[in-house]
Symmetry: C2
Subunit: 428 residues, 2 copies
């Protein structure tokens, strides 16, 4: 049997996992695909470096073109990361009729449509299960599992670093800065944590998920992003007192054909299944008109979980090749994208205000809410004997984002409000 | 464009949902499949009956053979239930080159291999996503999502009726018989609840899941079954005191190539994600060597969730037809099945004993455990001032089923033990 020949771009954490699985599970893979799978060339930065897995050094190359232009190679697996030059390599591979499996969320969020269009033109497969939520097969679930339904909401904990930090802050009462340092020491957060903690990584994943779920091309710029760096212990404490957990949540919603996608720290009711997702785990909650509530839970990153998804894609592509049906997974968006305006985005909110401690303040604030057509659900004044002024916790009924913005704007000219300490969306 | 012609066997709850989705989502389905989907004939018991959905009465027939032998029909959807005669209809449809989508767990658990073999022989698809865990796309996840991994454990809450009953018993302190009556009144349990409460329904689903997950033909007879009808309020209370929830759990395990599959009421540690699955919801927890812990959560039954899965299968089959690649989803088991012996099945257990209240009893019991090579983790004697004798709660370290059986056998000849009140497996 002629083996399926694979070129591997990258031999870092995930690449090493891919080699381990392809070699360790060869017999299992072969009985599924019908022929052996052989990794014939591997791109590395430095051929001389010691590896965590034993590979024939003759397979290693430092030249990506040697792989993407090799006529013997059927499938290119990209686990090297990077955007611009990586895109060039993959386009070249597709141009030459090679199929692509990639774990690169940055690339797919930014240039997914261009890459998928090239694949469609050449009749090639591009699979990218590992780009979102590591070991959870959420992409094939959205494409195939819910093909018959109309998905109206996708909520995701799709960044393990921030979920680890928020879980630790919630369970141990630790401060943000301290937990971040600990996460960095454990390798859960990078030296420059910006992409994770500011929500950019989650935003890329939500762009991919909402494009698939809503079948409309959601770009990274369409995602409204706020990170967790300003989340305080106080916020988390108040959230728990009200029966919520604070999570960095990606929320994509559709009403008729209007879409909104955002990533922000959100207070999630404890009874909601996503509120119990802790530590570095990921979960994607999908609401479909017909199916109702579903949730998919698993590891969001890591060598072996991510490699599992990469190799599952490899199996799917190799099977398609055997059958001569590559390029069928045309996941190009086919709906016109219409973004919701602030008047169309509705949610409930939590506000924490630091106000003057005198009579009439609450009346003034209630007046502002009323003028902006925002309806208050509850007001609480927690005891803060050690601080001057008073604190007010306000939760609202469902309201538009436009009303929220108007309220916050009006608060600026209200002398009785010293600071708007926190504003969070409420879910569940 | 020539439409894909579908024959529908059954117009009950799920069949009605299928008609609703195929008609309501026609545009969406058509853009995925590339041609319209038309339900051209529907098998009903009584053509004159009023329906929950409007269908052209000319499409209705009371003769199944009229559908499975109609040369115009491409795909047969079976949502009528039943085993022997239903099998004949589906085999006839396959014989004539029609593809099959079925929601029939009983049929697939009992005759899945025969039906799949016929499909393979004829190059036809048989898809059965809806047969397990209604709206959760767990079957395609096991077949495709984890194709690269070695699954070692599958745990499922795959029966909504029993999960509803146990949840109510746990949350409201109600007795089994009362909750069962309530579930029957609400339509969550059938008039004859045996198949659900005695675990048979869950056993059928576990046979299907373990066959797929372990790629070995697990028959219904291989599943060790115990239902929930003897679960008491006291058991649930003690479970909660120890930090567990009592769930009817299907547990399939593999070690090397040895398999065990069972369904039994199990105490699940509250920190385990499956412990929080409440009410009629289903969840399947999958542990893979590479991927680690994952869980898939959603509605286990109901008109629209189940119909969603049926129509997702219909889309997949219709796409395959367009591409001329039906029959590729050969999910026939390819591994020899080896069942674990009682000496190989290991678990932790909870025992509740009613014993004589006198000195030396615990020593006697400990002696039995020691002789049977079963190691005690903890012993508690809860206060039971209103009853004669004493109660002992014993939890064990991981032990073989053979040891457990030996202990229980020895207890019979121990005069100090009045009753073995309960024995549960512990998980998590």
């Amino acid at each position: 049997m002629k083996p399926v020949k694979v070129g591997l771009l990258g031999l870092g954490t995930v690449g090493t996992g891919v080699v381990r699985i392809v070699e360790g599970h060869q017999e299992d893979l072969q009985s599924q695909v019908g022929s052996p799978i052989s990794i014939s060339k591997i791109l590395v930065k430095d051929r001389a470096k010691q590896r965590g897995v034993s590979v024939d050094s003759a397979k290693l190359t430092e030249d990506p073109w040697e792989i993407v232009r090799d006529p013997e190679i059927d499938i290119v697996i990209e686990v090297m990361g990077g955007i611009d030059s990586t895109k060039e390599y993959l386009l070249e591979a597709l141009e030459r009729g090679k199929h692509v499996v990639t774990a690169n969320k940055d690339l797919m969020a930014l240039h997914g449509q261009e890459i998928l269009a090239k694949a469609a033109e050449k009749g090639c497969d591009v699979f990218y299960e590992a780009s979102v939520a590591g070991g959870i097969p959420i992409i094939r679930t959205l494409i195939e599992g819910f093909s018959s339904d109309r998905i109206t909401k996708i909520m995701g904990i799709v960044n393990g670093t921030t979920n680890y930090i928020l879980t630790k802050m919630s369970q141990e009462g630790a401060a943000y800065a301290d937990v971040l340092k600990e996460a960095q020491a454990l390798g859960y957060a990078e030296a420059d944590p910006t992409s994770d903690v500011e929500g950019l990584d989650a935003a890329r994943k939500m762009a991919i998920l909402s494009t698939l779920g809503f079948r409309a091309n959601v770009a990274l710029d369409d995602v409204d992003v706020k990170g967790i760096s300003s989340v305080t212990q106080e916020d988390i404490r108040y959230a728990r007192q009200l029966g919520y957990e604070l999570k960095l949540l990606g929320i994509a919603e559709r009403q008729d054909d209007y879409i909104s996608v955002g990533v922000q720290p959100t207070m999630v009711k404890k009874s909601h299944p996503i509120a119990a997702v802790n530590g570095v785990f990921n979960a994607v909650y999908v609401y479909g008109e017909a199916v109702g509530e579903t949730m998919f839970y698993g590891p969001g990153a890591g060598e072996m979980p991510t490699a599992t998804s990469v190799v599952a894609d490899l199996v799917a592509v190799a099977k398609n090749s055997k059958l001569g049906v590559n390029g069928r997974q045309a996941t190009l968006a086919y709906k016109e994208k219409k973004l919701k305006t602030d008047e169309q985005i509705a949610a409930k909110y939590f506000l924490l205000l630091h106000v003057e401690d005198r009579a009439g303040v609450l009346a003034q604030i209630a007046q502002v809410f009323s003028q902006c057509e925002m309806s208050i659900e509850s007001v609480m004044q927690p005891a803060t004997p050690d601080r001057p002024g008073a604190e007010l916790i306000i939760t609202t009924h469902s309201t538009t984002k436009a009303s929220l913005k108007a309220v916050l704007e009006s608060f600026k000219s209200l002398s009785s409000i010293r600071t708007i300490k926190s504003v969070y969306r409420l879910e569940g």
